[in-house]
Amino acid sequence: MSGKVSERLNRLLVMVPYLARADGADVKVLCREFGLTEPELMQDLDTLRMCGVPDYTPADLMDYWIEGGRVHVMMADYFARPLNMTRPEVLSLFVAGSALLRSGVFAENGALDSALSKIERMLSEETKEELEKVISHIEVEMRAYEGNMREIIDEGLEKGMNLELDYWTFSRDEMTSREVEPLSLVCSQGYWYLLGWCHLSDDYRLFRLDRIARVRLTDNPCQERVRESFDVPRVVGEYKPGRKAHQVRLTFEGKQGRRIVEQWPAAQVTEKGDGTISVELRTRNLAWLATYLLRFGGQVKIEGPKELRKMVAKNADELLEAYS
């Protein structure tokens, strides 16, 4: 987040007011909140040292000092409060806000609606008009966040209380019960997940909401240690299949192939001249794929591995039996 001049300028005009407070601001917190490394922060601070008001004598320039891990700035009364919100900032709040309203995370006409309209009221007529045009043309689609378990999950997240889940692990096709410290709701590829510290596996886990069979609020508070130290992108990143994963090769025909490409952004896709699409992907577990592929019928050809071909054949045979 170092970037263009206008981005740096905007950032500094938000940062200086924090530094100019009587007790300054913590270096580590600053880096985290502003998405900067310490050298990048130092570069920003050194820029400030060159700035001030006429006559630009040392007494007119903003100077900083660091004491006990906190940054302080003097002589910046004119920057004692942050710059008003820029258009991209308002736009981003509204895009995120309307995605969460449409998916039902927030109720219509509730706290989010009223908060956003308070922000809208402070905008100039011209800005409001411009933004309205753009906002209605941007949509981030998320599946509806709903279901009767939602209230319990929300309560666990809000109060920081552990949840007990009965969860169906799609990839292993098994149902297990476990205690989970709820950390965050996560939306990925349109689906909702609960991210939590799982006491059964003693690790972070993602639980897809529509695969939770039952949820109960426990009396056990989340442990602070776990709550503090998580970082969503990092945790989610760990879910990439490792080296032990199977290499799967599939060929799809026509329209189905197109849909597969949309659904598996991680897959390697090659479009062939004859209208077929070849897909290569890695997965740690073949069982889920052997069931998942059934829906594609004659439009998928399983090139390998052999193990997967056998599993799919067995599944299809058994299910045909159940249908007859």
Binding site: S6, R8, L9, L13, V14, M50, C51, G52, P54, Y78, P82, L83, N84, M85, T86, R87, P88, E89, L91, S92, L93, V95, A96, L100, G110, A115, K118, V134, S136, H137, I138, E139, V140, E141, D154, D173, S184, V186, C187, Q189, G190, I212, A213, P233, R259, Q263, P265, E271, T291, L294, R295, F296, G297, V300, V312, A316, E318, L319, L320, Y323
Partner: protein, 328 residues
């Protein structure tokens, strides 16, 4: 002196002054020491003003009483983040919203975080103890997405090469971007394509070049979005339009998976527990294909028992996949 320093100094100077400053005064202070002609300094000042305005910092021009002098200042009431009186639950809501895209690399991530910091300065945002909601889809190319958003906001033409699905070669396109959306984790934008002369949908991953946002006349839009344009019509291109929910279907679930009955892509009408513990669920189905595919996803744990047409569809798929396996 770096440009960023000059812009900070100009902002500070015009914000602090109690009376409008004319250009002579500015060239003696903010622009002092720059070895340039007076004309070239004046042009630099005009560009700086434009840049500040782009960021939302309004430099006000004040004519003197006799109109012979022009002064400049930044009105404080418009510069500073105003106080917004938020209720505690509104603070929580805004904090959650501003963190939705945090760290996801979309063009919304950084601005939303800065907005929160502006709100938080007067304790107008909630602290750490707020439920987290996160969007974790990282676009493959953040810069590309940023450029498209920029063109969309300023209504500027986009030029790029695009390889459509099913074609071997990338073709140069010129598009008026009307809308942007994300579906199942992938980004698309919709706009009037000059090559095809109609509204088309473009997937970001199929863009094979950088996108060029028309650099000419940056302050004037290149086009207007037609009044009838609705992004939602474009998002649903995949599904057959106007599917009526007129098929009633029954699915029997094994006991351990009966919770899944409520997750289907159709309206659940009734649930009945059978004597053997299995659950029979009745649905009103609008999209039979999608419904059959969903049911097949549970393997032998879910079986469609009626109507015959849907059962046949399921069996067709199963026979099809077996044929493919036998034939190679």
């Amino acid at each position: 002196m770096d440009k960023i320093e000059r812009l900070i100094n100009l902002t500070a100077c015009l914000l602090e002054t109690k009376r409008p400053l004319d250009f002579a005064e500015l060239s003696d202070t903010v622009y002092r020491g720059l070895s340039r002609s007076q004309n070239s300094l004046k042009r630099m000042f005009e560009r700086d003003k434009d840049e500040l305005r782009e960021m939302g910092i309004e430099v006000e021009t004040v004519e003197s009483e006799w109109g012979d002098e022009t002064g400049y200042m930044i009105p404080r009431d418009r510069y500073y983040m105003p106080h917004i009186d938020l209720e505690p639950d509104e603070k929580v809501a805004l904090t959650m919203v501003s963190r939705l895209f945090l760290g996801s690399g979309t063009p919304f991530s950084v601005p939303a975080q800065l907005a929160l910091l502006k709100l938080a300065f007067e304790r107008q945002a909630a602290g750490e103890e707020v439920p987290h909601v996160h969007w974790v889809e990282t676009p493959r190319d953040s810069e590309l997405l940023g450029d498209i958003l920029d063109a969309l906001v300023r209504r500027k033409l986009l030029a790029f090469s695009y390889r459509s699905l099913g074609s071997d070669e990338a073709v140069a396109r010129e598009v008026e971007p009307y809308g942007l959306f994300n579906k199942s984790g992938a980004w698309y934008f919709v706009g009037q394509c000059h090559l095809r002369d109609e509204v088309r949908c473009f997937k970001l991953e199929r863009i094979t070049s950088d996108v060029e946002v028309n650099p000419k006349n940056p302050k004037t839009p290149d086009f207007e979005v037609p009044a009838g344009f609705d992004i939602h019509d474009e998002i649903d291109w995949e599904r057959p339009a106007g599917g009526k929910a007129d098929v009633k279907a029954k699915v029997v679930f094994k006991p351990r998976l009966s919770f899944a009955a409520a997750t289907g892509p159709a309206r659940l009408l009734a649930e009945k527990r059978r004597a053997d513990g299995r659950l029979e669920a009745t649905y009103e189905v609008a999209d039979p294909e999608q419904f059959v595919e969903w049911a097949l996803g549970f393997g032998t744990d879910a079986v469609i028992t009626s109507p015959a047409a849907l059962k046949e569809m399921a069996k067709d798929r199963l026979r099809g996949i077996l044929e493919g396996l036998g034939g190679s």
